[in-house]
Symmetry: none
Subunit: 216 residues, 4 copies
DNA sequence: TATGAATGAGTGTTCATTCAT
DNA sequence: AATGAATGAACACTCATTCAT
């Protein structure tokens, strides 16, 4: 009675489902952290729990997929910003601010990210993760180099530090809450620290005494 | 042989157990996050599971107790550093570095901290938490004011920003891993950003162009 | 071989499981009281523990479901007996005897009933309970009125008293054990008390002696 | 230093403790049923949990002790009422009413009683229970015989039926709640049933047949 | 392929009972 | 004898995962 639907139709459906699940997972993990119950994600995606597991063989795999999707998104951003031919180096700060806003919006973008990241570090040297991660790192590195060449960012730091700072800053902003004042101040501190630094003679070592001179 | 034990003997034992549980919980939460299994904590503390629940009526209560203990420790640190009469303001940076090292050592000091913190914000306006938190904030604020008076820290930030930065930095260091190079560089960036800033005329807007001059 | 199963197939299975669980719970609660271990019920029903909790969100819910099922059964009985057009009023006694036998068979039909009932009184003014209870009460009342109209039952009692008597009698029979002699005698006392009473002038005070005349 | 207290003093203390525990247990079981937590009893008695277990080797033993105490109390009541030399037989109804009020006052006097009773039936053919039970039964029997001799109670029932009725009635009253109207009506039904019965021609025996005529 | 009911190991929590003090 | 902290088996309930339909 029911004429068999063309097999392509299914494929399209399946692909759409996969996308919806990923989207739902992203949202739910952002709201509730990676501890969220998988059925919530299914419900949000409008599919049955079985469908989630058909597309992602385990919850861990789903978390990683969300994680990787996020990394890819950031990589694209970084690449796009890097494309400008004549750069003043400020694109770097744009990227930083954008990521960090994105992260703090979704409550714990970074929670899931790091939570997954930790697990991933442990045993997902396999999978696409290392590649995706390397690509993001390279994109960030390129952006950073560009900014450093333009003199917008101090020369003594590299992409790994930037990544760590991004994650840390997202957390800091998350803690700061929604108020614009503190958020702006936090970023200002960060950005000032990232600029090429004046010759603060002997900071931490000698100058303290020196400065205390001018003060005491 | 054993001279009559003081009447508080039992109490002392119980107090020791409580301490051991707290210690074990601190360690286990640091290693595995607040999702750690309560029985692991009991095992680590060398007591039966019932004993854990005798001292802390729920897992949540245990998490909060660990959290509060950490906050208290930090408060003490801040107060001690603030006690120096003639301050150059550098104690502030000491505190910052110390906290952050402490946090990053224990894998997710801040995870549990924030995890608990989130829950706490939601419903523990009661309990000791608000008090402890206020005390820590005040201690940090005092240390910060001292440093600002001494000219060691920029004047346009307050204790809330510092708290957020502390948490974020701990996270960043955690992400950076154990290597000393990146960790030191991260802190340098942060600290530079916290210093009183030179008149970076028109940062972000004009000066960039100006500086890019000297470089491009 | 198997012709295409109706689309509700799964549902049917699930419904059967629900029924089996309910049945098993009824039996187990009857044997061991409402304190019975939920896994025993699962085992008896031939399902896993999770399945029990899928169908009944908590043990309390299961107890109540069993309770309500019993009430419904009794309501049906009462209604069926009430349907007879030309009644001599003896259906009432049939109902009474039937309920009470049913109850006493299952060791503590009434235990669970009351145990649940007590809890229910406390907080389940919601749910189906009030409705089901009202329906049973009404059915019993109808049966009672019928019997009273026919002159088979005394006029000075109502449905609430009957309900209480039913519960109490079930308990009494349960205590009396399985022997037929005592059980029959108990019911005889009850039924005699429920009949329209002769003018026992001065009961409790004098007339007893008088009547003992005509009997002794 | 502390001169050893005379050993008798301890004994008195211990005996007092035992009594207080029993009293507390009676109250707590009455309020919460035999599922009540043992520590609640200890708290109510003003002793430590260990003391409860020193006096009663297990919770079950405590329940049984309470049970037996109650039985003893009832036995005394029955005996006292039986002592009247010239009896009209109404003492029997007094006893009945008194017990039943007592039971219904304490919410589930009879719950615990029966709950314990069930267990006891199963395995406490040992202990004092059989003796105490026999004594109560005998006292009730004596009271009953007295009432039957006086013509106040029908002749075709014995002490076992009365016991069952007592328990059942207590339950019925408990279900009826606190209102005086229904309670009184319930007792009236019961008492009327217990009186010597008039020759109700054909009840249950012939009239049924008669009816079966007209019906089928 | 999608569905969603079933599974069952795992977890937080309770509480009768023991035992060092 | 009394205390009350410690014990640990037992239980209700959850949730990732499987599988019959």
């Amino acid at each position: 009675m029911t004429s068999k639907p063309p097999p392509r139709a299914r494929r399209a459906d399946a692909r759409r489902n996969r996308a919806r699940i990923l989207e739902a997972a992203d949202a739910v993990f952002a709201e509730q952290g990676p501890g969220a119950v998988t059925e919530d994600i299914a419900r949000r995606a409008g599919v049955a729990i079985g469908t989630v597991f058909r597309h992602f063989p385990s919850k861990q795999a789903l978390v990683e997929a969300v994680f990787i999707t996020r990394l890819r998104f950031l990589t694209e951003q970084a690449r796009a910003l890097c494309a400008a031919p004549e750069s003043s180096g400020e694109e770097f700060f744009d990227f930083f601010a954008r990521w960090v806003e994105l992260s703090a919006d979704k409550q714990s973008f970074v929670d899931a990210l790091t939570a997954a990241g930790v697990d991933v570090q442990a045993r997902a040297a396999a999978g696409e993760y290392p590649v995706v991660r390397a690509e993001l790192l390279e994109a960030v590195a390129a952006l950073l180099r560009q900014a450093q060449r333009a003199g917008a960012v101090r020369a003594d730091i590299g992409a790994p530090e930037i990544t760590a700072l991004l994650i840390g800053t997202a957390r800091a902003l998350q803690h700061a809450g929604a108020q614009q004042g503190p958020r702006a101040r936090l970023l200002r501190v960060l950005f000032d620290g990232l600029r090429p630094q004046p010759d603060r003679a002997g900071d931490r070592d000698r100058s303290d005494g020196a400065r205390s001179d001018s003060e005491g």
